[in-house]
């Protein structure tokens, strides 16, 4: 049996079968937790699925959550391809949101067609800027990006609490949030866009940011696999020593990868700040940066896989709120448990399942 045909048979195992098996294992483990608190896992799964996909409105909510996770998932994946683990998507998204909010507060009189492209740039620059310091330190001082991005999450959180409580808060108001932006700076809701085209879909927070997130996925795919810089990024991630020997500049590659990663995380704020809240709230990213880790791992760092995984997590979040409504013992925290277990099984334990499954599909060698 020639190696090429072995590879051929494994082609669908790694990208399709493995994630499916991993997901099943993670869900089985979650089912154990559900049983442990005396509920029926089957009923929970049905409630979850109908809550996430039952009608047009719930699908809209699912995709709205998914937009966030596509952005943060892509962010984590780009860094992964360069051999870097960006745990700081949460903080980068937060600072991107700060940029978007400041811009929207100031651009109240601008027309929407002008606001949106500038806001995209501002969100990306905000996120990239927050990733730049850890990136520079990693590239030039060897400070491990895992630790520095964790620290930068906490620093971002402190900074934003300070700004929202003391500076940006709407006067005469108790809760730390900015005033509402002018409606001309809001991202159009998708149900309004679709109505203009003559169709009717259910009302939901789903907005143009979802379309942007898919575009971002396509751009990341093109950048990583069809440009010289993407090649350099991946080569550096696969084997830094060989890449440097091949003439790839290490510092520039690391900084570029982290900046793109941070920019993608920052873009998440388009959905949350401009699309839905129309103001900047405390703890705006709401854990989406960490969901991005799970999404990237499940999607095997490929944009297509990430979109699928993001929709799955969107479904978990949307279905999860339905679940807590129907089965009060299963709070939304159950979704966090499933998320953690998916990271465990798809990420940390990936080798544990990969080898036996691949062995199962590898044709017996002619000895």
């Amino acid at each position: 049996m020639s190696p090429s045909s072995t590879r051929l048979r494994l082609d669908w195992v790694a990208p399709v079968l493995l994630p499916a098996v991993n997901l099943t294992v993670a869900l089985l483990l979650s089912a154990v937790v559900v049983l442990l608190i005396g509920e029926s896992p089957g009923r929970a799964l049905r409630t979850l699925a109908s809550g996430a996909f039952g009608d047009a409105e719930s699908i809209g909510y699912t995709l709205y959550y998914a937009s966030n996770f596509v952005f943060t998932g892509l962010a984590v994946a780009v860094a992964f391809h360069c051999g870097l683990f960006n745990i700081g998507a949460e903080g980068q998204a937060y600072i991107g949101g700060l940029g978007v909010a400041l811009f929207c507060l100031g651009a109240g009189s601008w027309p929407t067609v002008l606001v949106v492209p500038v806001a995209i740039v501002v969100a990306a620059v905000g996120g990239a800027a927050w990733a730049f310091v850890p990136a520079w330190l990693q590239a030039h001082r060897g400070s491990h990006v895992v630790i520095t991005t964790i620290m930068f999450n906490f620093i971002a959180s402190s900074l934003m609490t300070y700004l929202l409580v003391n500076v940006l808060i709407k006067p005469g108001q108790q809760s730390p949030e900015t005033r509402e932006f002018a409606p001309s700076t809001w991202l159009p809701q998708l149900h309004d866009v679709v109505r203009a085209l003559g169709w009717e879909i259910g009302r939901s927070p789903l907005n143009l940011a979802f379309v942007f997130s898919l575009l971002a996925g396509a751009l990341v795919w093109f950048y990583l696999w069809h440009t010289r810089w993407g090649y350099e990024l991946r080569a550096f991630g696969l084997n830094a020593t060989a890449a440097v020997y091949g003439g790839i500049p290490p510092a520039a590659t690391v900084i570029a990868a982290m900046a793109i990663s941070g920019a993608l995380a920052g873009l998440m704020s388009l959905n949350e700040v401009m699309g839905v809240q129309h103001r900047l709230l405390l703890n705006m990213p709401g854990g989406a940066g960490f969901v991005g880790i799970a999404v990237a791992l499940m999607g095997r760092n490929h944009p297509l896989g990430i979109v699928v995984a993001a929709v799955l997590f969107g479904a978990l979040y949307q279905g999860g709120s339905e679940l807590s409504f129907d089965m009060p013992k299963l709070t939304r925290d159950m979704v966090v448990v499933i998320q953690g277990l998916i990271i465990l099984v798809c990420g940390a334990l990936e080798h544990a399942l990969q080898a036996p499954i691949e062995a199962l599909f590898r044709p017996a060698r002619a000895e």
Binding site: I147, T148, M151, F154, Y162, T331, Q339, L344, A348
Partner: protein
């Protein structure tokens, strides 16, 4: 005026000691793991697990001791899971740690909500089911003395048992790591696992032992939060203390005594921040609370950047060891 200042300083010192205790315990746990070459981002999750298990068990049994054992057991269980993923299956250590942290932050609330119906909390512990303050001998006798009396009474005496355990843990861990055969192997495994393997010592077994050590200490740290500092488990009660302990470990350059110093420094910053709360300082005016809260993280980044000192991590840290076949 002087008496007031003295009182404030004494109270600040006492608050620093209390705040540093869980950090010291967790950071020393991390020291075991990281010195053996296993990244321990899961300190946070292990603390939270232990806090929940200890408070839940103490609430049900009414015994703080059974609670403590349960807390340590839960924490060790998660440490072993971390080992299963990254030592046995050579998984990514950071991914595994994050997975545990995220799982636990949900799981503790789900279980707490289902078992106790108090919105994710555990029932308030009766005084007998938590660690109370211990008056050291002589505190009353020394009390009348002008300076020594209050310092002894407030700063040294009157803490709960786990504070003293944390204090004792520093020399014990230092002795274990630097003066025993186990410690030598532990450090060697973190620097050059291949050499240790060649000498016939199991790399996996040593790393598992280190992780169990981390589990035990994080268990104590978590139990401190829910059964000594507070009287129940509250959702996300570790609130980043595990990451702070990790920062202290790095700031202390993976050595017990400097790590203790870092923990005291971070706890002092926290105590000052709680005390200040908007009080203006001479010359600088009101210092934002959030800035003081961010200081430990900024300091750690500065250290990692080589601005203040240089952090040299164990050489084999984060690299799964694959035994030659």
């Amino acid at each position: 005026m002087i008496a007031d200042t003295f009182l404030i300083v004494t109270l600040l010192a006492a608050a620093t000691v209390r705040g540093a205790a869980p950090l010291v315990l967790a950071a020393l746990g991390g020291l075991f793991a990281e010195r053996s070459g296993v990244v321990d981002i899961g300190l946070e999750g292990k603390m939270l697990t232990a806090a929940f298990a200890a408070a839940a068990t103490a609430a049900v049994t009414g015994s703080v001791w059974i609670g403590l054992v349960a807390g340590i057991a839960a924490s060790v269980l998660f440490a072993l899971l971390h080992g299963f993923a990254c030592v046995t299956h050579q998984g990514n250590q950071v991914v595994s740690g994050m997975a545990l942290n995220i799982t636990v932050s949900g799981l503790t609330v789900v279980l707490g909500y289902a078992w106790f119906q108090e919105g994710g909390q555990t029932p308030l512990l009766a005084p007998g089911a938590r660690f109370g303050p211990i008056e050291l001998p002589g505190a009353a006798a020394l009390a009348p003395l002008p300076v020594i009396g209050p310092i002894y009474r407030e700063v040294i005496s009157g803490h709960n048992l786990l504070v003293y355990v944390a204090a004792a843990a520093v020399p014990i861990v230092a002795w274990l790591v630097y003066r025993t055969r186990f410690g030598l192997r532990l450090r060697a495994v973190g620097e050059s696992p291949g050499a240790v393997d060649t000498a016939g010592v199991s790399v996996s077994a040593t790393r598992y032992m280190a992780l169990v050590g981390s589990g035990i200490l994080c268990g104590l740290s978590g139990a401190y939060l829910s059964t000594a500092h507070h009287a129940s488990f509250i959702r996300d009660m570790s609130a980043g203390k595990g990451y702070l302990a990790l920062a202290a470990l790095i700031f202390g350059q993976w050595r017990p005594l400097p790590t203790l110093g870092a923990c005291l420094l971070f706890a002092f910053a926290d105590a000052v921040q709680l005390r200040l709360q908007g009080t203006p300082l001479p010359f600088v005016g009101v210092v934002p609370v959030q800035l003081i809260q961010a200081i430990p993280y900024i300091l750690t980044v500065a250290l990692l950047a080589g601005v203040v000192g240089r952090a040299v991590a164990p050489r084999a840290i984060g690299v799964p060891y694959v035994k030659e076949r």
